[in-house]
């Protein structure tokens, strides 16, 4: 997805996804498919959890809910803001929103999810970012 982290903080992360025509749902390639927004929310929720919660090695999505507020018709970059709204030892709760990086910035989708956390020394997040930077 070629995600770029714009802001990373304990109270939430802001991520940019450059417009990608192969994620579109139409032949004209101007309308992002809803499934991409769902996958994007799931990824960025995971990221927000790794930032907000110490000592998690891995996590699994328990459930995910997405409301598509309007058609995702634009060729602008996609912005996602996600936060971990509550954490317990085993569970994290997330909320997030998606909009296009263009003047009116109208919200395209909102999502909520919960994750099961696995705690431990080795972090898959670190393993992923290391393998990426070494490529």
């Amino acid at each position: 997805m070629n995600l770029k982290m714009e802001k990373v903080a304990i109270d939430g992360v802001l991520v940019r996804m450059p417009f990608n025509p192969s994620f579109c749902g139409d032949e004209d390639k101007t309308l992002l498919h809803g499934g991409v927004l769902t996958a994007l929310l799931d990824s960025v929720f995971g990221l927000a959890n790794f930032v907000a919660i110490d000592g998690i090695s891995s996590m699994a999505t328990l459930d995910l809910r997405v409301d598509y507020l309007r058609p995702a018709k634009s060729r602008a970059d996609v912005m996602v803001r996600a936060e971990c709204i509550r954490q317990t030892r085993h569970i994290a709760f997330n909320s997030g929103r998606i909009w296009f990086d263009e003047p009116d910035q109208a919200e395209v989708a909102r999502g909520a999810a919960s994750f099961a956390l696995t705690r431990g020394e080795v972090s898959i997040f670190e393993a992923m970012t290391q393998s990426r930077s070494s490529k």
Binding site: C24, G25, H33, G34, A39, A60, L64, R65, A127
Partner: protein, 133 residues
């Protein structure tokens, strides 16, 4: 509409091309599809589990097809979705079966279940709402 013809039609949608799934069954209120495993669909690289968002997207695609299939491809607009993840999806093909629960003039509710080897052990279960176009 045969499953093969529907698969061909869906290849026109760039995002469906990316997912690279095949429709295996198609009936009035029912659709099934198979998605082969690919490295790019992984969410957890150490355990090699599928990405949760990809599973939800695949289920959404099959749900949309179950509610609307005809000679011209006119997919319904998604309103919202809820997915429960029941177990990790490991390296190997994924199968999704979608059943229309209710289809009215304007709205449709579809139940989608996704599994790997054993239909009685689903990896995810979701409910999708669509606006008919």
């Amino acid at each position: 509409m045969t499953p093969d013809l529907a698969t061909q039609q869906l290849r026109k949608v760039p995002f469906f091309q990316f997912l690279d799934f095949t429709i295996t069954e198609l009936a009035e209120t029912h659709a099934a599809a198979m998605m082969p495993f690919a490295e790019r669909l992984i969410g957890n690289p150490i355990m090699e589990y599928y990405h949760g968002g990809i599973i939800a997207s695949f289920m959404e695609a099959v749900a949309a097809i179950s509610v609307s299939h005809g000679p011209d491809l006119r997919l319904p607009k998604p309103i919202n979705l809820t997915v429960d993840y029941l177990r990790p999806a490991v390296k190997g093909p994924l199968i999704t079966e979608a059943t229309v629960k209710r289809r009215g003039k304007r709205m449709a509710s579809v139940r989608a279940v996704c599994w790997q080897d054993d239909g009685s052990r689903p990896v995810a279960d979701g409910l999708y709402h669509f606006l008919m176009v």
